[in-house]
């Protein structure tokens, strides 16, 4: 942590009391660290700019509305906001189609009916069938845990209660089930993607 002539806490107080210059100093002081943190998560310059901007909009609103408390340090607080916005970004990404600007616009890159076409449905069915066969090759204890977790959506706590082993053992069996599946897939050059 660098020592500055004016601490962050003083700048924050000055900003709350109306000094806009104090905010400029805070941004100048921490922009590189905050931006690099965001970029290290999203690997996209434009998205990083957006999240950086949204982070400081939240900071400004919180400070101006008098909701900020000086219990924590300024930078960790801002980093936490940035971190939460990065998480929001990825959550949104899972729900919404992303338009990537590659010079050519295609309406179908942002609009689809959400259903798989006939070919993809067929491939998906084959992949799932292949996977079911591979799972049958696993040792019984590993197969049991994997089926409960992946197909019945049970938690490891529920699996441990059902099978009478500890949670750690159930986790270990799941891990080895996945390792063994990968080994079989690699060994037989099986393609499980559509």
């Amino acid at each position: 942590m660098k020592d500055y002539a004016i601490s962050d806490a003083v700048l924050v107080t000055n900003y709350i009391n109306g000094s806009e210059g104090a905010l400029a100093t805070l941004i100048e002081r921490h922009k590189q660290r905050i931006y690099s943190f965001i970029y290290s998560k999203v690997f996209d310059r434009d998205v990083s700019e957006d999240i950086f901007q949204d982070t400081f909009i939240k900071v400004i609103k919180t400070l101006k509305s008098g909701k900020y408390n000086e219990e924590g340090k300024f930078l960790p607080w801002v980093m936490r906001i940035a971190h939460n916005l990065v998480i929001d970004h990825f959550r949104k990404g899972n729900r919404m189609p992303k338009f990537e600007d590659n010079g050519e616009f295609s309406i179908f890159s942002v609009i689809s009916d959400g259903d798989l076409n006939a070919e993809k449905k067929l491939i998906k069915g084959q992949v799932e069938e292949d996977l079911r066969m591979l799972i049958q090759e696993l040792p019984e204890d590993q197969k049991e845990v994997l089926v409960m977790r992946m197909y019945r959506d049970m938690s490891f706590k529920e699996i441990s209660e059902k099978t009478g082993v500890s949670i750690n053992t159930a986790l270990g069996r799941m891990r080895y089930a996945l390792i063994n599946l990968r080994k079989v897939i690699e060994k037989n050059n099986i393609v499980l993607t559509n």
Partner: protein, 48 residues
């Protein structure tokens, strides 16, 4: 997948910072935003 997680930054990437326009936008936003409290209600006004 492993490559994705282990992707290392080069020196230039480590010195990343936001564009000046982004910082300017934030500073202008800050200047324009007024938060007014009336009893328990809080109003945000952008004075542009």
């Amino acid at each position: 997948m492993a490559n994705f997680y282990l992707k290392s930054f080069n020196k230039e990437e480590k010195q990343l910072e936001p564009k000046k326009s982004t910082v300017d936008f934030i500073l202008n936003y800050s200047k324009a935003l007024k938060v007014t409290k009336y009893e328990d209600i809080q109003f945000e006004t952008l004075l542009n």
